[in-house]
Symmetry: C2
Subunit: 100 residues, 2 copies
């Protein structure tokens, strides 16, 4: 069953198109991670927050990615990464058009 | 621009199909909220957590829903609701097949 990974962390930028330019290659590489299905990139410039919502094929794939990504973020100076791993309630998500 | 609303809270259940049976009418009603696009229902029975990832058409619609939903959750005994509102980085999300 697909697993949803919810990640956010304090981030001072860049945001928007500047972030997209800087992280395009990283985005391409993420699509090649084992078990990866999709990622929505999230950002809040006024709250100085960023993160991502991911869907992975399995819990193991999500956990392995999270370890790798957390280490990468720490290397970029991000000290505190908030991460939660969830099951998807597929019956309810189907009613509300959830893209899973 | 679409806004992503990330919500999670401590929850002791029901989960899975039992949750789906209990909350089906609520799910239908959520699809009728102003500016609603989709919701993925999230749950983690072992961590006793649940929540949702939502896409709304505008920040105002997301904020109005969040106020209504927080009050509803408090009525159900949920004391602490974690909520974050994000912009979506559309360029990066497009690369990673993000459904926005």
């Amino acid at each position: 069953m697909a697993k949803l990974l919810q990640v956010d962390f304090p981030f001072t930028g860049p945001f928007g198109s500047e972030m997209a330019g800087a992280l395009k290659d990283l985005a391409v590489s993420i699509t090649e991670e084992p078990g990866f299905i999709w990622k929505i990139w999230t950002e809040n410039a006024s709250e100085k927050d960023a993160g991502g919502i991911y869907l992975f094929e399995t819990e193991e794939a999500a956990q392995a990615y999270l370890e790798k990504h957390t280490a990468r973020l720490k290397g970029l100076g991000v000290e505190k990464v908030n991460a939660k791993l969830f099951d998807v309630n597929e019956d309810l998500s189907k009613i509300t058009n959830g893209p899973v």
